[in-house]
């Protein structure tokens, strides 16, 4: 796949269709793959990477990139296309300035899960019949492939590209995923159990802002958490209330706009399952207002931005809260 993508990128650059390419390159470690912009064939040849660790969603980068001169080529996985669509809908991306090549998505791997098996010094991985062969500085190790898959890929909602100019490989379908299983488990807890669960998670937060910075729904010109006039600006949580409220406010801000790309949980250095907050909103929106997937299209009105006469009344929150 990497080869095909490099060839496509070089071809589009040489034809003058695009003047830049957004893809990924390797950082210090083999599993440290980050988005990068390439301006010529040499750079691409040298450092363009697309492998089992390439999970990062590049859609958000296009908010800035699409406003620069010329057209940029973006390789988008199915999940990334949802984010891309949502950003078009919010007028954050200039569609005409992006050439989208749809590429097959995951499942992508979670280096943390490999490391949790005691495997360190990772140099590279190979998937052979769903056995993961890991080349390390200490020699080759193996583990079952699916035990190393990222959480966000294990509960993938769709293999279908919702927007593209051309595709490499075949397009997939939306999946009947199990993504709400954990949300249901949380819903079935008592209020105290749920509170304890979230405290045990959110108390780990170090306010690094990685979740916000990676989130394709968080593209505000000025984030309320950085705005001294907002009344909720803070750099670090001074107490448990602020730890909780940062994530709850963020979940409210992206409610109805979150495309469930799972980047927040993927980048969290403390492994807080932040995506569960967003999924709870997605599930509630589905229940209250009918099935809705943000980013699926660019024309529909989001349920929270629309008023219908048969919308549920606000007291449903209270009614459901009664235990």
């Amino acid at each position: 796949m990497q080869e095909a993508m490099i060839n496509k990128a070089k071809q589009l650059l040489s034809e003058g269709v695009v003047n830049r390419v957004i893809g990924w390159k390797r950082g210090e470690f083999a599993y440290d793959i980050t988005p990068a912009v390439f301006e010529n064939a040499e750079e691409i040849e040298k450092s363009f990477v697309y492998d089992d660790f390439t999970a990062a969603n590049v859609s958000k980068y296009l908010v800035k990139e699409s406003k620069k001169d010329g057209k940029i080529l973006a390789f988008l996985k199915p999940c990334d296309t949802y984010s891309f669509n949502q950003l078009i809908k919010e007028h954050r991306i200039i569609r005409e300035n992006v050439y989208i090549v749809g590429i097959p998505g995951g499942p992508k791997l979670d280096a943390e899960k490999i490391k949790a098996k005691g495997i360190t010094g990772i140099l590279g991985v190979k998937n052979e019949n769903y056995t993961l062969k890991i080349d390390t500085i200490y020699g080759e190790e193996t583990m079952p492939f699916y035990e190393a898959v990222l959480d966000k890929c294990a509960s993938c909602k769709s293999k279908k590209h919702v927007i593209y100019d051309e595709l490499i490989g075949e397009d997939g379908d939306t999946l009947d995923s199990n993504r709400f299983d954990m949300v249901e488990k949380l819903e079935n807890m008592t209020a105290q159990e749920r509170y304890d669960f979230w405290r045990s998670q959110l108390s780990k937060c170090i306010r690094c802002n990685a979740c916000r910075n990676v989130c394709p729904a968080c593209t505000c010109e000025k984030c309320v958490f950085d705005n001294p006039d907002s009344g909720i600006e803070n750099k670090a949580p001074s107490d448990s209330f602020e730890e909780n409220m940062f994530h709850i406010i963020r979940a409210f801000h992206v409610a109805g706009r979150c495309t469930d790309c799972g980047e927040c949980s993927r980048v969290c250095p403390q492994n807080i399952p932040l995506h569960l907050l967003n999924r709870k909103f997605i599930k509630d929106i589905n229940t209250f207002y009918g099935e809705f997937q943000a980013g699926e299209d660019i024309t529909s009105l989001a349920p929270l931005n629309e008023f219908k006469q048969n919308d549920c009344e606000a007291n449903i929150i209270h009614e459901r809260g009664v235990e």
């Binding site: 919010e90 007028h91 010109e221 309320v224 706009r257 006469q309």
Partner: protein, 663 residues
């Protein structure tokens, strides 16, 4: 430095009996920025207002907090007082310590504590108030009346009389409403049609009135003085402009087995029909559920016999968009569905009828040509039992908690008319109470009892059982004689409760007006503003606001017209300066606010910005049209970045209030 004055009103004993007003004034005087804090018996009185004005001048106040009744009552009074003393009126804040405190609490200590907290919140807010200036917006000189019953017709006629254009939107093929179905009217017993139909004709001939019959409201946008309404003209499959109302098509139509709504389904009409002889507009309508041509494509007789060529089987629903300055709601009422009342055998026995069905049975244009005959076997009934309060004054979920108001009088009318026309008929009326408060009403009822010998029995009917011999066994209790009664009646008439028309609720949503739990529209003030809704520019006429008889309906209809005219004569109205504005530096241009704005006040512009790195960027940012914005605040909560804010109710002001309350 702020110089804030606090003024605590006793409202006689309304506030002072439950709240220690002196303690409130004393405590609030210690709040930051407060330099004068006083209490007074009636702050809204001339001398109370002078207290405020003098304090503003004497202490050079920068803000005023009045702890009193709801801002709905006297905010304007105090704003005007402040303005006359030279203080910007929007630097006045009201702490509602009456409706939201003294009236709902009993314990003086806790009510006083709450009043202090509400006062502190208002002080915290007024610290952040900024002077605002109100603009003006023009008034469209045209009114919309929704509903073409007697209420809507009267309102339209009165508005037209004042020289303004007015449109009536009626969902049925003809105007006239319920009154057109009524036979005689109490307490004078004049014929309903004889007094209604001239008004219908007058409405249709008035050059200022446009009637959209067989039409519905599909969308309402805008605000007082400037509503934009989309009217859906339902396809009647007959060209209104060509149809002469000759009625030949209705005679020739082979499909004659359609239940006739106008006669409450007691007889049949044809698939193409004119509801009744005096219908306005007198235009035929095709019922596509029964028309053979529409259903099977075979027939087309009406089209062949129509010399005007008015039949159009392919007609589509049409949408008209029109601007209005004022909207009057006159959606009226319906009798409730009696399916749940098995004890009265309404669904089992055709000789158990509702009062409205009896009106049709007795009407000359009704199914029996005006002779009262039993629907089952077309014989004269000799014993008739009337049951009052069927579904009215109910404490269960089947019925309505309220009194339907008109039933006592129309039942007396029915009883009297039957005794007059058929003296050999015995009439029984079972009642809980007979309520006759109205001019000449009690005299009317007494005539029924004393002159016409109608048997009024205090008590309720327990069970109605149709018998195999055609009689109806009515089991009832006589509460005064304390005995059980069995009456073998020929007919039973049920005075069904009345309820607002089903179209009222979705309409209320479109108009953003309030309804009560029974779906009656809520008036702006139950005593002092009975024909205005709480939404500016929306007025209420007739039974949509509560059960009413014809004289009351007509009185209210004219009152609503007067209010609408009062608005339409103005060339412009003062706008609310508490409108939204967008902080362009923070706006993402995401369109969330535009999508939630019910008034279409937000547009987007591409604007050049000098960025911190000295480059120039063109960004899409929201722009609020202050003349259109109504300050509802929907955009401020929809905005993900907090760029949208509301003058007079800014996010920081609200948070300051919350902080003051939670402190």
């Amino acid at each position: 430095m702020q110089r804030i004055g606090v003024f605590v009103c006793h409202c006689g004993t309304n506030i002072a009996a439950t709240i220690d007003v002196k303690a409130v004034a004393e405590t609030l005087s210690k709040e930051p920025g407060v330099i004068v804090s006083q209490d007074y018996q009636y702050m809204c009185s001339e001398s109370g207002q002078n207290l405020v004005k003098n304090a503003i001048k004497e202490h050079n106040l920068t803000g005023v907090v009045v702890c009193s009744c709801s801002p709905r009552m006297h905010e304007n009074t105090f704003r005007k007082a402040a303005a006359s003393a030279g203080l910007n009126p929007y630097l006045v804040e009201i702490a509602n310590i009456r409706e939201q405190c003294s009236w709902i609490h009993k314990d003086i200590a806790s009510a006083t504590e709450k009043a202090i907290i509400l006062g502190k919140a208002a002080v915290a807010k007024v610290h952040l108030n900024a002077p605002l200036t109100a603009g003006e917006s023009p008034v469209v000189k045209r009114a919309l009346v929704i509903g073409g019953g007697i209420a809507g017709i009267q309102t339209a006629l009165d508005i037209a009389e004042a020289g303004f254009d007015v449109d009536i939107v009626e969902k049925n093929p003809t105007i006239g409403g319920k009154m057109a179905q009524i036979d005689k009217t109490f307490p004078t017993l004049d014929c309903a049609a004889c007094i209604l139909t001239p008004k219908m004709v007058e409405a249709s001939q008035n050059e200022h009135i446009t009637i959209h019959s067989f039409s519905e409201i599909s969308d309402v946008k805008g605000f007082v003085g400037n509503f934009t309404v989309t009217i859906k003209k339902k396809a009647r499959f007959v060209d209104e402009t060509k149809c002469t109302g000759c009625g030949l098509c209705t005679e020739k139509c082979p499909m004659k087995k359609v239940p006739n709504e106008f006669n409450m389904g007691l007889d049949n009409r044809s698939a193409i029909y004119i509801p009744f002889a005096q219908a306005v507009p007198k235009v035929a309508t095709i019922d596509p559920n029964y028309c053979m041509m529409m259903k099977t494509g075979k027939c087309g007789i009406c089209s062949k016999v129509c010399s005007a060529g008015a039949i159009d089987y392919k007609q589509q629903d049409q949408y008209i968009e029109q601007k209005y300055g004022a909207i009057v709601v006159a959606t009226g009422f319906n009798p409730i569905n009696l399916d749940k009342y098995d004890e009265f055998a309404y669904n089992q026995c055709p000789d158990v009828v509702t009062s409205l069905e009896l009106e049709r049975l007795m009407n000359a244009a009704g199914p029996n040509g005006g002779t009262l005959l039993r629907p089952s076997d077309k014989t004269h009934p000799h014993k008739i039992v009337f049951v009052q309060c069927v579904g009215s004054r109910c404490d269960d979920s089947k019925g309505k908690p309220y009194c339907s108001k008109i039933c006592c009088m129309y039942t007396a009318k029915h009883a009297m008319l039957i005794r007059e026309k058929y003296p050999d008929t015995e009439v029984y009326v079972f009642y809980i109470d007979v309520r006759t408060p109205g001019k000449n009403f009690d005299e009317f009822y007494r005539r029924a009892v004393e002159q016409y010998n109608v048997h009024y029995i205090k008590g309720m009917v327990g069970k109605v059982t149709p018998r195999s011999d055609g009689k109806i066994d009515v089991q009832a209790s006589d509460l005064l004689a304390n005995e059980q009664l069995h009456i073998d009646a020929d007919m039973v008439v049920l005075a069904a409760a009345i309820e607002p028309d089903k179209t009222a609720r979705p309409l209320a949503t479109m108009l953003t007006t309030q309804m009560d739990t029974n779906d009656f529209f809520t008036e702006a003030h139950p005593k002092l503003r009975p024909v205005e809704s709480a939404t500016a520019g929306i007025f209420l006429s007739g039974a949509c606001q509560g059960p009413k008889d014809i004289p009351e309906t007509v009185a209210q209809a004219s009152a609503a017209a007067a209010k609408a005219i009062g608005l339409l004569v103005k060339n412009s109205i003062t706008c609310n300066p508490c409108v939204a504005h967008s902080n362009e530096l923070m706006c993402n241009g995401c369109s969330s606010c535009e999508k939630v704005c019910p008034y279409g006040a937000i547009t987007y512009i591409d604007k050049e910005f000098k960025m911190p790195d000295r480059t120039v960027a063109i960004r899409r940012v929201a722009s609020v049209n202050p003349a259109v914005c109504q300050g509802c605040g929907a955009c401020t909560v929809a905005c993900p970045s907090g760029a949208m804010d509301l003058n007079g109710f800014s996010n920081s002001q609200i948070i300051a209030e919350v902080d003051a309350i939670c402190k």
